[in-house]
Subunit: 342 residues, 2 copies
């Protein structure tokens, strides 16, 4: 990849923002958290990672194996007041990515989802207000905060009527972050993530991170199962673009108290994503089956993000195409499958 002058300028501006700074990443052994950790270590930040390593979630010590001597890893839960107060104290930046991540599980276990995704985030915010009042804190929300989609592309003022408890609690936490900014001046910002994919995503089950799961199916020579015709449009966003969005939003004070969509602008159908995987992995096959009842109820309709707000604020745009993102991802998992299949 050639590096343009503007990219060099951006990189140095990031290095200036994060070099020597204390940064906490909750959920930092997970997919997005560990990728942010890698970028920050490269920029010379002093990184602490908090992760509960809950069995069904994305936390994986292998995700930071290559930087483990350059970061501090604390195994602990964001619901644990004592640990949270300790790790939050004095941080310059907090990326709050710890979460219950499955919208399917959120319906079967609503109390667990409430506990992690609301109470846990409230713990971190309370700790930040008391022990790191100057910090900038980012929250990873989800396109599922919108619920049923009325019009695309979806901008940040689209109605928010989630169809799962996961979506409701993401929305609730978003509002916590804004209130803590308005009430206490705690610098916060929220990013609504569409369908993320890329290296270091969990591959243990198919409850979320569908791209990763399909790559695994294909690599194992199994059928990739598509519900219905697979024509629903999704916004698949590659991890490098997600990381740069978090870092850019974190490094600007213009973003305080704000919510931002991120996404690609590519109109991609579910089945196109599957075809992109199969183009990389010739052993894979696809098959169509009817929508299971529980899933169809949670189908929100086509989703494409309107990302003009984040572009205006911090100049962020997605740069990785689905094709090259899938190529990178397949490459990574071919090399490291034994670390993710278990």
């Amino acid at each position: 990849m050639t590096t343009s002058k503007s990219e060099i300028k951006e990189t140095s501006s990031f290095e200036k923002t994060f070099a020597g700074k204390r940064v906490l990443i909750t959920g930092g052994l997970g997919f997005i958290g560990s990728n942010i950790a890698h970028a920050l270590v490269e920029m010379g930040a002093e990184v602490t990672v908090l992760d509960a390593l809950l069995p069904l979630y994305g936390g994986n010590e292998f995700n930071v194996a290559d930087i483990k001597n350059k970061i501090k890893v604390v195994i602990g839960d964001i619901r644990d007041e004592k640990i949270v107060n300790e790790v939050v104290a004095g941080q310059d930046f907090i990326f709050n990515l710890a979460a219950q991540v499955s919208y399917i599980d959120s319906i079967n276990e609503p109390f667990l989802d409430l506990d992690i995704n609301c109470l846990g985030h409230l713990r971190v915010l309370e700790a930040a207000r008391k022990f790191a009042p100057q910090t900038k804190i980012l929250f990873s929300s989800s396109r599922l905060a919108y619920g049923r989609i009325m019009t695309t592309p979806v901008d940040e003022s689209h109605p928010t009527n989630p169809v799962s408890m996961y979506g409701v609690h993401k929305l609730t936490a978003e509002k916590y972050y804004r209130i803590y900014f308005e009430t206490y001046g705690l610098k916060s910002a929220v990013i609504r993530i569409p369908n993320p994919y890329g290296p270091r995503q969990q591959m243990k089950h198919n409850k979320y991170s569908i791209v990763g799961w399909f790559i695994r199916q294909a690599l194992e020579g199994k059928d990739i199962t598509i519900f219905g015709d697979g024509k629903q449009e999704r916004d698949y966003l590659y991890i490098d673009d997600i990381v740069s969005a978090f870092l850019k939003v974190a490094s600007s004070d213009k973003t305080n108290g704000e919510i931002y969509n991120i996404g690609t602008h590519e109109r991609v159908c579910f089945v196109d994503m599957v075809d992109a995987i199969l183009a990389e992995i010739s052993t894979g096959k696809k098959t169509h089956i009817p929508w299971p009842k529980n899933y169809e109820r949670n189908e929100t309709g086509n989703y494409i993000a309107d990302t003009r707000k984040i572009k205006r604020a911090v100049g962020w745009e997605a740069t990785v195409s689905l094709k090259s993102g899938i190529t990178e991802t397949v490459e990574y998992f071919k090399d490291n499958k034994e670390q993710y299949w278990k």
Copy 2:
């Protein structure tokens, strides 16, 4: 008060809906709950009241003293799974009014507010889904779910950006009720209450139910303190109108999964409400002081409800003017002050 033919017709239609029916009222020793209990006893319903009698809230055994032999009272908390499952089982209607009620306290004690106003309501919904799947369940939300008001009158599609944790958690619970309707077919409806007042309101402190508190100040010959010029517009709704809204919405299946504003259409300023009290209680006086900092931050701007949706759905409209509502309320508290001052 004269009774028109249409009012008689309404009353008999309600009697048909609730006569002989099993009804649970959580928070049923509080202001709105106990008033609904009185109406339902009159209509021949089999009423169970669940109330935790938490010290700072509105629960007051005197509120049902005159009907205590006609209802079943259970002292217990909506967060208690065992009690909730027991009292919910087999109910035909549930009025879920138990709550942490102070938006001021919700900022100082966000975990308590989360616990009662989200987890507690989730407990009741889970119990209803499992043990009373045919029930109709109503939730008392608040105008504070809207947060800062952008345009008046406020209809149900107005943006919802609460400025207090209380408002956030009311909004969260609203979304639970809709999801339980959409996912499980549990018949639910939500009512957004503006500023309620009337007999049986708590009078122990001034953290909420400001009309009641001012009546107490006036009856005790103390100054009524107004922040700023008191020109902010509010929608003060008398309890009889609130009770009829809950009963009408509960008795129609058209309301399932819906949210309704209620309000008066009267454009009343805060200071007009004070003057209405002083017109009844000649010993009272008013005085203006500057806005305290914490309160101004939570001032949402003028609020007047657009109530066309509930009128279209079930024909509800407010019928009691501020003047006659205040007269009734003052009368009640003059007669019963020793039961509410403590």
